[in-house]
Symmetry: C2
DNA sequence: GAGTGGTCTAGACCACGCA
DNA sequence: GCGTGGTCTAGACCACTCT
């Protein structure tokens, strides 16, 4: 016998098959999957087993089910992505929608900290995106985003980037962001913060460090966001 | 017809029954529930329906299931509570266990901000707990905790408070904390931070504002934590 | 071996969306 | 009215725990 369980429930195998089909793009974002019945027949299992898998993937937000219609690949639409991963709000809870400010994109060699954050090799290149986001017209967030260049070929030549990058990752590069590890800490504003965010040097700044994970569990984005911390908060619900 | 669904699945009713029994203390934390079979018979539904409910409540962390043994009321033990709601860590991810520092408890009238945060009435009284927590022996977190006094009778007369208050709420007052809404922002250290946390005035401070919700959905605790932000971060995984 | 939760099946009926 | 997912049932067998 091996040291791994040795016992592998049927639904686990079905789960892996469905995840692989989504990851490989056999089904595209927004599309409907085959019905439970036809999936069950195709895979040689009961409808109940298929149901268990689809329910689990729906809980993980990879799928969406609509009674009477079908089961769909979840789309990282603008609003959905924002509400899921953009945690900046006004004190008291009102969620916000940032607008796009200035941005720049370049490809360069990875620095040590980036190799560590993204778990990539010494020789690998990265894409660096620097951008400012406005809230109610005011520059409020400055982001430095670093991606492994091999996963996002040609991204630096796109004329412009969408407000929510994750929908771009999904539709153009087949990369589904399913989770993000964030670390938040406080700093005081430096000269660049003063220039970009129009805050006084010495004012408090909220810094959010994020590593985003793909469906396959790979670290595909590192993002450091510096946020004006007068009337904005980082908001999250623990369950 | 009414404007509410008008349709109420069986498992929803069973769900409510089980939640009520836990909330009322019919079953105590750490105890085993009756088996699926006996619950099903008692409630006049199939085992599958009971299973659906118990699985859901397990996902919500109110129950724990152990194959071959039974289904148990989840306990807010020290470690469990800490890992679930204490999000302070070292950069890079290592989770920390705070130790108890000085604390003081008093009962007084509620202030306007507290009435708003806890959704209580003008005349209600509150318990105020002020305490310092140490990390690796260093004063690192200063907390101001406010509770509706009517929910926690006599708490101010306890000789000392445990490190994790939520296990006390659960075992002594029958209050299960199931979720918390947190808002994080940055400030610069004031004179009190300097005194309590030994940081320089003007250093960055992380402030965490939490409202904790009970199983019944009531706001039962408001907590403001001020955290030394040199080598500590607020760490959370978005999914 | 007895009792528990975990998996899997087959089938019935319900609620919903759409043509 | 048809096809979809959602609920509910009954029963079989498996894996785990404890005695």
């Amino acid at each position: 016998m091996s040291d791994t369980p040795g016992y592998r429930p049927l639904y686990r195998q079905v789960y892996d098959i469905v995840v692989r089909k989504v990851a490989q793009g056999t089904w595209r974002p927004g599309e409907a999957l085959p019905s439970e019945q036809s999936l069950a027949k195709e895979l040689g299992v009961s409808q109940g087993t298929v149901r268990k898998v689809l329910d689990a993937l729906t809980a993980e937000k990879l799928l969406e089910r609509r009674q009477g219609k079908g089961t769909y690949i979840a789309e990282n639409t603008q609003e959905r992505s924002l509400f899921r991963f953009f945690r900046i709000a006004r004190p008291g809870g009102r969620r916000l929608t940032p607008e796009r400010g200035g941005e720049s994109v370049k490809v360069r060699a990875a620095r040590p900290v980036e190799r560590s954050k993204l778990e990539i090799e010494r020789a690998d290149r990265v894409v660096e995106i620097s951008r400012t986001r406005l809230i109610d017209g005011v520059p409020s967030v400055h982001e430095l985003i670093v991606l492994p260049a091999d996963l996002f070929p040609g991204i630096e030549r796109r004329p412009s980037l969408p407000n929510t990058l994750y929908s771009l990752y999904q539709t153009e590069y087949g990369i589904n962001i399913v989770a993000a590890q964030e670390e938040v800490h406080a700093e005081v504003a430096n000269a660049e913060d003063h220039r970009v965010l129009k805050v006084a040097v010495g004012d408090p700044i909220l810094v959010i460090d994020r590593v985003a994970l793909s469906l396959q569990g790979r670290k595909v984005e590192w993002r450091a966001s510096r946020v004006r911390s007068g009337d904005l908060v980082y908001s999250v619900t623990l369950t």
